[in-house]
Amino acid sequence: MEYFIQQLANGLTLGSIYGLVAIGYTMVYGIIGMINFAHGDIFMLGGFAALIVFLILTTFFAGIPVALALLVMLIVAMLMTGLWNWTIERIAYRPLRGSFRLAPLITAIGMSIVLSNFIQVTQGPRNKPIPPLVTEVYHIGNITISLKQILIVVITSILLFAFWYIVNKTPLGRAQRATEQDRKMAALLGVDVDKTISITFIMGAALAAVAGSMYLMYYGVASFNDGFIPGVKAFTAAVLGGIGSLPGAVLGGLLIGLIESLWSAYFSIAYKDVATFAILAIVLIFKPTGILGRPEVEKV
């Protein structure tokens, strides 16, 4: 039982990270109907930004409190990736809006290749380890929970609440939801569609940056090809939850995190990704639009 709870805690931590990345996928998909393949690499960029900020901070302000350092890392990473994703949308996706469906998919795959190779070229192909930031560990009975796990879950919850608030209660969120439902009608009613889409990309990137920074904090290492596997898993999470649905993305992320940690705990660590993908396929056979996705109704 204790072992189970331990794995539950691990899965929840991992699931939070996937959930944050999955929101970026699902939002972009909801609003312009494209798979943003470069999103996983945006997540990687966020991790790298946090890593570089961390190095600068430890050089210039040696005795800086950890909480402050983390905050600075998160904020810089969010701004940085927000800017990157804004530029990417502007250069590679906006000119193809209204073009056929596969064109932005190909530019997104191209962008993903460019981003990971750009980091490989500029920062080198080796793994970048950093010293552990948060080392406190709590014991409850036989269960060990580290402070960084708690931090990840807490930060994720705060962000999700803030995010839910923005989407559901602010004029910006209303504009986003309107654009998602009917872009042409929203534009006719005075919503600045281009701006709304840009902001969606920036928001998605900021969440991915937080996830990337926390991934770095959790594993203590960053690498140029870190974007792919977590990216695919987050995308899987978004689809599992029903792509286009925000609660679905979080639910999907948590599910994927739990499946992964429980499978590696009870069955085999080697086949954990196989299990994740297999469960995705099985769920989609029975619910072709994901767990919380709206069924697609095609009008003739």
Binding site: P104, I113, G124, V239, I243
Partner: protein, 463 residues
């Protein structure tokens, strides 16, 4: 009047260009500040440290500023003017008069390909031609074949498959395993690999029949990853990441062997000097024949009910079903046929390399193949072949750019930039030609005469 307004516009454009250029500079500075301006590296104590690279950052910002300025001030007005002029004259892009080269492109290309290994040998000598036959010829043709195979699934049936490399892997491992465990020959295993891959196409196709669009895309991606992960982890059979080496070479239809020690060695039998180039030339003709087979089957199938059903499925699934077409069978045959050609290509790949490992079957390969299909213009065989030549040949060419070392210093390794440039090329081609290199399509069904139509008229499907 027109002249006056043009003169008025000019300073406005300049002012706008300068403003945009400054903005681009600021954005570029912020974007590259951390990633280019600062370099992280491990010192002797294996500790991560950093140093600044202001010079490189300045170059990046300068490129952004100049690039944006030139785009806004010169390129965009020029393009607008050309578009306006075209609209005024009312002449359409598609001119009726085609050049001799254009008309006979296919015949010229085929003759060139048939002579290619001999030409290479004549120009570069026996050992010098090895690179051109193997790295360029065979490599490009493998991608042409894969892309044509995927074209059946994506271009004709409109089913977005992101895991095509799985079938390539099935073909390669079928050959590698069956030849090293049972000693079967290449000519027996080539069709078997195709059949096995087709079988896997059906197996993987079944669960995804109900899925549409991007749900289909992610599940095919997942299947591709599952197959790769199984290949990595099922170490008893596949030897995991070490891969399988020492795979038997293809023989000359069992008559002559290309193994150096064999009694019926091809080179010895024909009195040729011992060199691997003859084997490579033989392989070149095999893959060329396989490509031709793929093209022939695709062209013939498009004339048959099954091919027409695929295209109907791509255009409108509901209409398709209302007309009594069995969409299950249609989708499964598309998957199976596409997978079969992937399997052929895979077994050829294993025979050519003599070594297979899961490394060769990563998602990136699927992405590259899909990119070739889309960049070439989905459904257009010529366009896809051109895209494969440009994208694969272009990146292979980059390996050869030794002279760049003289420009950028001896530390410069062009290979590092290969995938970076590949990605950039994907983006740029898509931005300028969203419908691919070849913008016209040959319709399958037509009234009175066959006329090429614009690619914009064909749909890309939702399945």
């Amino acid at each position: 009047m027109a002249i006056a307004s043009e003169n008025n516009v000019q300073p406005d454009v300049m002012a706008k260009a300068i403003k945009e250029a400054v903005f681009a500079g600021v954005v570029a500075f912020c974007m590259f500040l951390l990633f280019v301006g600062i370099e992280t590296y491990q010192d002797i104590n294996n500790q991560l440290v950093w140093r600044t690279r202001w010079g490189l950052l300045a170059v990046f910002v300068a490129v952004a500023v100049v690039g944006r300025f030139v785009t806004v001030a010169f390129i965009k007005p020029h393009l607008d003017k050309r578009k306006l002029a075209k609209a005024k004259t009312g002449v359409l892009d598609i001119s009726e008069e085609k050049s001799f080269f254009h008309k006979h492109f296919l015949k010229i290309a085929l003759v060139f390909l048939l002579c290619y290994p001999f030409l290479a040998m004549m120009i570069f000598g026996r050992q010098g031609s090895l690179k051109y036959v193997d790295n360029f010829g065979i490599q490009i043709l493998i991608y042409v074949m894969l892309a044509w195979g995927l074209n059946i699934v994506v271009g004709l049936a409109g089913l977005l498959d992101l895991g095509y490399v799985a079938f390539y892997a099935v073909g390669a491992y079928s050959y590698a395993l069956l030849s090293s465990y049972f000693g079967f020959s290449f000519w027996l295993l080539l069709p078997m690999a195709g059949i096995l891959a087709a079988l896997w196409g059906v197996i993987l196709g079944f669960p995804v029949l109900r899925l549409r669009g991007d749900y289909l895309a992610i599940v095919t991606l997942a299947f591709g990853e599952i197959i790769r992960l199984v290949l990595i982890n099922w170490t008893d059979v596949t030897r995991g990441t070490f891969g399988i080496s020492g795979i038997a070479k293809a023989s000359f239809f069992g008559i002559w062997s290309f193994d150096v020690g064999a009694a019926n060695n091809f080179n010895k039998a024909w009195g040729l000097p011992s060199s691997s180039v003859y084997y490579k030339m033989f392989l070149f003709y095999i893959i060329l024949a396989l490509c031709m087979l793929t093209a022939y089957v695709t062209i013939r199938l498009r004339r048959m009910p099954i091919g027409r059903a695929w295209e109907a499925l791509r255009e409108d699934e509901i209409a398709c079903r209302s007309l009594g077409i069995n969409t299950v069978a249609t989708k499964l045959t598309a998957f199976a046929t596409g997978a079969m050609f992937g399997g052929f290509a895979g077994s050829f790949f294993a025979a050519r390399q003599g070594f297979v490992s899961p490394e060769s079957f990563v998602f990136l390969e699927s992405a590259v193949i899909l990119a070739i299909v889309v960049l070439g213009g989905m459904g257009s065989l010529t366009g896809i072949a051109i895209a494969a030549v440009v994208m694969v040949g272009g990146t292979e060419l980059l390996r050869e750019m030794e002279f760049l070392k003289h420009v950028f210093g001896p530390d410069f390794t062009p290979e590092l930039y290969r995938m970076l440039l590949f990605g950039l090329a994907m983006i740029i081609v898509m931005l300028f030609k969203p419908r691919g290199f070849v913008g016209t399509r040959e319709p399958t069904a037509f009234l009175k005469e066959r006329k090429a139509v614009s690619g914009s008229f064909t749909k890309e499907g939702h399945g």
